[in-house]
């Protein structure tokens, strides 16, 4: 029983490898195209990243609006002071809010920290909707609080 299963599994895996590499070769995807990793999504006209120091400077100058892409539950427990919560999962239902975002300010999108990707996705979508000054703060909430920078909780 196991020998038959393993033999069939190897056969299927070999067929999948042929199909996978054949398909990506013919369609110029995956290995045969530029790998579209998280980092490479940020090249070209897409939103660029911003570090803590620059984020802090823009925060203190009031020239930026911070947008928190985490879930509302996390946002309520604590967020960058005056940040606006636009959870990625609720973006469609918040189009009115998005339409009212200032276009003369830098929009700095963040989530938990370097290990989350909702800020990248939200920033890309805002950028696609015509917001030019969108930046991604990869350090996010974790780096902000580690420096004890201004934060607040929502009721």
């Amino acid at each position: 029983m196991f020998r038959q299963g393993i033999r069939e599994a190897l056969l299927i895996t070999a067929a999948a490898a042929v199909l996978g590499f054949g398909y990506t070769f013919l369609t110029e995807k995956g290995f045969f195209a530029r790998a579209r990793t998280t980092e490479s999504r940020l090249t070209g006209p897409s939103p660029s990243s911003i570090d803590l120091n620059e984020s802090r400077a823009l925060f203190e100058s009031g020239k930026a609006l911070f947008i928190d892409s985490r879930h509302a539950f996390d946002f309520k427990r604590g967020h960058i002071r005056a940040a606006l919560n636009i959870p990625l999962t609720e973006m469609d239902s918040m189009q009115k809010t998005i339409a009212s975002l200032p276009r003369d300010k830098t929009l700095i999108v963040y989530c938990d920290g370097a290990e989350c990707n909702s800020s990248i996705e939200l920033a890309s979508k805002l950028h696609a909707q015509g917001f030019g000054g969108v930046r991604i703060f990869f350090g996010g909430w974790q780096e902000w609080t580690s420096q004890k920078l201004p934060a607040e909780v929502s009721q």
Partner: protein
């Protein structure tokens, strides 16, 4: 009782349809966008970029072939064995991600990041599918299949 259940042709058919349709649907997005799937894999921070791309090139096709074979009732043992291994791998990755506090989308059945982030619900779902795969591997019934031998 378990042996009787595994020999029941309707139980086996139900498991085949469940697994077949699930993985058929799961494979489409990933096949269409191997780069996106590789990106979803690297978000788990368990493997390097090239290895993620290698997995993203082959894994969706394994899912598709297994789904088609299971629905057709051929290479059932090999397909269910592979699906069980894939699911165990996914579940370990998701569990590891949850325990490390990663805020990432699963990448399990769709690459749409708005579907939601990884959570224990995904672990429970996958565990159910692992049980279904293992049950199908041990199932002895050979009804409702395309005969190739």
């Amino acid at each position: 009782m378990i042996k009787a259940l595994l020999s029941n042709e309707y139980v086996a058919l139900l498991l085949r349809v469940l697994l077949g349709l699930t993985f058929l649907a799961a494979s489409i997005d990933k096949i269409a966008d191997p780069g996106g799937f590789a990106s979803a894999i690297t978000n788990y921070k368990l493997v390097s970029g090239p290895l993620a791309l290698f997995v993203a090139t082959i894994l969706p096709w394994i899912e598709l072939l297994c789904a088609l074979f299971i629905l057709a009732g051929i290479y059932r043992r090999g397909s269910s064995l592979l699906l069980a291994l894939v699911l165990i791998g996914f579940t370990l990755a998701v569990t590891s991600g949850i325990l490390r506090g990663l805020d990432i989308s699963c990448g399990c059945f769709t690459l749409d990041p708005t579907v939601g982030k990884i959570g224990w619900q995904k672990v429970i779902e996958n565990s159910g599918l692992i049980i279904a795969s293992v049950a199908l591997f041990f199932s002895e019934t050979r009804e409702y299949r395309i005969k190739i031998d």
